[in-house]
Symmetry: C3
Subunit: 469 residues, 3 copies
């Protein structure tokens, strides 16, 4: 008995299935390139065992606990910490049982496929998770986690990861990255420069963060030049720990290109703490253009992840804080929003800006037309809720005809759920091969070309877009 | 010869078709649960014969006459009444012929499938409707309607309807529901509380309606507390006629959560007749939150049907009034619009708010992410123009991966075309089984689970979401 | 060896493929009706040879050169002229090689299919284009172009074009159309009235253009009545060269219906050169309603092509001017935008307004509901980036269920790439037949009806909507 179908996600029609399987056979065992994600570098620095099944699969995975919450399970019963330090469930087995009893809620979701893939291929389980098997699962996974071959570095190697990028804030001292390097371990784990906390005036503690940025770099971050130089210094520091990319999680894709004097005045305004929403938006927008200019200088690839309304529920945010499954997408425009930045640097062939979206209406209407014209632009893979079979299918169908394959940037797993990394890359490889099989069978692509494209989508484009060679 | 293909809407690939057929076999004969619709309770109270084929199939069905109008047939030639009482076609056979001659206009539409299903399965016809068969059809259907087994109650029973909800305005005396109950007939027909006429300041006669609400309930509806108490009283009255749900048809999904003093001032403003569009919008928004609070008290499920620009054509509205096929959807946002209500009551596990949309871009971007997090939210089935094979396919593909099946609310037929009810439920069952077959065949769902889900989507989820047990 | 698969774009499942092939066999050889496009009438007036492969396939085709630019090829290296007359590549063979070496960039795009179709079916080539075959291709195509049977009129006849509409500005003297007529050649080439340069206050040289319109017509175009009469005169002139349609390329679909006095004041304002963006928008909107009124008088079909943000890149526009692949779509609303015009003339059965969109979200939400109600409205085929297999599939899936087939207007190739015309019509015919085959196989359309619909979509609806009988 197996939890996963060896032909999963392939088309059903026999000729199509054969084509998809053949394409997949050519890319299944390629190394994993993970150029954007949220794993904790400490795992690889300390190489300690993962604590227990609930902390591995439930508590940190907002895909998982949000579904349980949506069906009436209190967050506290799932062990999600409270900001006031108040009591939450601490028995990992109790949390695991709540999850196991409700595993049917995930039917038809990518979470179910990722979890089943991890259960079967990482932990060797072969019976479906349910109330009945909850304890067996718990005991078995817990026993595995106690073994050396289930420690982070061993799994990293077993997963065939060639390179894994984590994401750290601009103020991070990168101590765990330093420890990884000093450990002599050969695994390639690099950081990514994510400056939201010192770029977004609406971020908690923004002014203090900017002051700390000044202390770290010896720059006067109350002046525009000093503030920009401080970013340059931190980017250089991040590059010294392997960073090849920056990442920007803004509420919108808006960019600006203000004269330096106006930018300086805006910096003073947002540092004063007394600013309007429009000024905060303009400042974030100006910083995207500045980051693009710095990328032209230092060669870092720039990622823009816009459009999430973070912390949608005020009571949940007050009780549990950020990143608790209540980040909800909204309409996101690109065509007007990106114009100032693109007018400034968009035609530069040496710049790479990777665009993501949580608003799929932009794929065909704005993103593919933009990426199919500006040499600096590439489209990132389907993000977050759209990192799924149907999401990938829509992405390819809505973008390929306008910007082709070579203006896209390969796959990102974008996850903090370490054990799901092989599962996520496998879903992407299968979904892309299913799409390519359809093109071949309908005379839109030769079979030879399809094999080359499959390899590019799996491996080469991610390395190229993120300059990971 | 048959008008309908026994394998209609199933996938064509033989293995997929076999799976879909098997899933459908398990749900085809389940009772019909119709928790939201617009049938006239008088039909079941009086049990009189339906007057003629044109009044059964053409005149009251805006799906049908709007298509004929779009190809140049004047509304008056179809017998649609004029608000000025001016002359319109009164010969039902003439109207029927206009329809029959143009039946090809419906090719590829759900209306064609619903109509063919009714013609074949309700009336036993087996030749396609056309100019040639128009009179034969007319005579045959008319003869059927004269028979006792084609009266409303007989059809209700023959259709296998377990429960049918109608929709009445807040001021309705529910006399027909009273008559049904007093008749001793066993059919379960319940009402639904639809207070738009006393909640929407832009509704014709709003202030007079609110005054009448006061008279009906003995409350002073010029005060905020009295106005809310009047709603409470009417909700209780509706519940005494079986209502388990309220329904709200607003131009947008906007909600508000104002302090009582501000709400009271806003009530005075909108009752005065001198108010801005923004104030009308705020009042409607406030009332959605109030209705949600009342639902927490009395247990009624709340439905929100936003986003239709009603009566788009000014000349058609002037000549023929409301509900004449000129209600056109527009962009509809949920993420910002619902936040005030959700911050107030969204995390309550005992509240059920069912969200509908006419803007499919919201399925994946906003609705599934919201329903996959808030315990109070469920997604209603595809509504209106999207109650169709392709509409259901898109709904499932765009929502399942994010919020699963169990945050959806089963099927609604939402119709005033009584004879189409079995056809509509059949289309939904087939479309869902087709989708589930695809999941099974691509390794995304076990066949055992698919059978359980098919049953849930057909029967259990509607009863649960509408508390119809 | 062939470049194109004889079963391309047909479904893969054998039964479906057989159905699609059979439907396609019935329409494959129908004459081409091309009611909207951008071919140069001079080609047919002079019947000179096309200069070389690069000028035929690369330099004028923004689909082609934008993709090369997006991957870092400078526009100047592709021979795209500079507005300052500065140097650009002039060697057509060098340009051709740049294109040939990068032909893999087009994998999966409609451009690749159109090009391969032209290479094989117009020029008889049978090896894939690549760096290796670049010179062979160049020499072969160039040799063909020197032959009489590759001159414009010969190709027009070989392509089976029954009628071809070009598009000329309101100030054009139509000399090439006159020359075609006087030549005695039997090919039917008609013009289309495109008045953007004298209707859009943001157009370069608007006031001078309007003055020239006055000179051409002897009307005082500084008065509202004179300005409208000048349009009437030019429409009549265009009709004398076969025009049956007008075309309007506006940034939005906004319409207005102002009193004449306000319209006159607005005309004065926009002619003065000192006006706001809102006034320019209102003027364009008013002119759409005026054009609709004139269409009621003179019977011309009206086309609205809204929603492109033209010349998105300021540096590219400054260096190379208009129509250089940097026109990017944006969100486009119809429901509110069209209401003034539709309230004025929308219910007129003798008016035909064909709506296009670059925002696919409007198909199901706004366009199909509008076209399924207003007798004056028809939906144009998928436009620009969406003129493709997937684009046509989405168009049919999103509109048919709501407005049927008979509120759509057949196919437009909308191209200036003459050799791609047969390829584009072939893709549309195949894509529609693939869609219809799916309807037949799933019991949504009889096979007999499908053959009739295929013929209508290929031939009859375009002739009818554009009154080309």
């Amino acid at each position: 008995m197996a939890l996963t179908d060896p032909d999963r996600l392939f088309p059903v029609e026999p000729a199509l299935r054969g084509l998809a399987r053949s394409l997949y056979d050519g890319v299944r065992d390629l190394p994993i390139v993970s150029p954007h994600g949220h794993c904790d570098p400490r795992w690889f620095a300390e190489n300690a065992r993962f604590p227990n099944p609930a902390e591995l699969f439930v508590i940190p995975d907002h895909y998982v606990f949000r579904m349980l919450v949506s069906q009436g399970v209190p967050m506290t019963s799932l062990g999600v910490p409270r900001t006031d330090g108040g009591p939450v469930e601490t028995d990992p087995r109790a949390i695991w049982r709540l999850f196991a009893e409700r595993f049917h809620l995930f039917r038809g979701t990518p979470s179910a496929m990722w979890l089943d893939h991890s259960f079967e291929h990482v932990f060797g389980l072969d019976q479906p998770l349910s109330a009945e098997t909850a304890d067996m699962y718990y005991d078995h996974i817990d026993a595995c986690l106690a073994r050396d071959d289930f420690r982070p570095r061993a799994l990293f190697e077993r997963f065939g990861i060639e390179v894994l990028a984590t994401t750290e804030g601009a103020l991070d001292d990168l101590r765990w990255h330093r420890a990884i390097r000093e450990s002599g371990w050969a695994g390639r784990v690099v950081t990514t420069y994510r400056p939201d906390a010192v770029v977004d005036p609406d971020f908690e503690g923004f002014a203090a963060n900017v002051a700390q940025l000044g202390e770290l770099t010896g720059e006067d971050t109350t002046t525009w030049d000093g503030y920009l130089d401080a970013h340059r210094a931190r980017r250089e520091y991040f590059r010294s720990f392997g960073a090849t990319a920056t990442d920007h999680g803004h509420p919108s894709a808006r960019t600006e290109n203000l004269p330096a004097m106006d930018a300086e005045a805006l910096l003073r305004k947002v540092l004063s703490g007394s600013f309007s929403p429009a000024e905060a938006e303009a400042f974030r927008g100006q910083m995207l253009t500045e980051m693009a200019r710095m990328s032209l200088d230092d060669g870092m690839t720039m990622q823009i992840h816009p459009g999430s309304r973070r912390n949608h529920s005020a009571p949940v945010f007050a009780r549990h804080g950020r990143d608790k499954g209540f980040d909800i997408p909204g309409p996101t425009g690109y065509v007007d929003a990106l114009k100032p930045m693109l007018d400034a640097v968009g035609m530069e062939p040496d710049l790479t800006v990777i665009l993501f979206t949580l608003d799929e209406t932009a794929y065909g209407r704005e993103l593919a037309p933009l990426a199919g014209a500006y040499p600096s632009l590439r489209l990132g893979p389907p993000w977050w809720f759209f990192d799924s079979y149907e999401g990938i299918k829509r992405f390819r169908e809505l973008t390929t005809e306008t910007c082709g394959f070579y203006n896209t940037a390969g796959f990102n797993d974008d996850t903090r759920a370490f054990c799901s990394i092989p599962a996520r890359h496998d879903v992407a490889r299968r979904s892309d091969c299913a799409y390519l099989a359809g093109l071949v069978a309908t005379g839109r692509l030769s079979e030879t070309a399809a094999h080359e494209v499959a390899h590019d989508l799996t491996y080469r484009l991610a390395k190229q877009a993120y300059r990971l060679d």
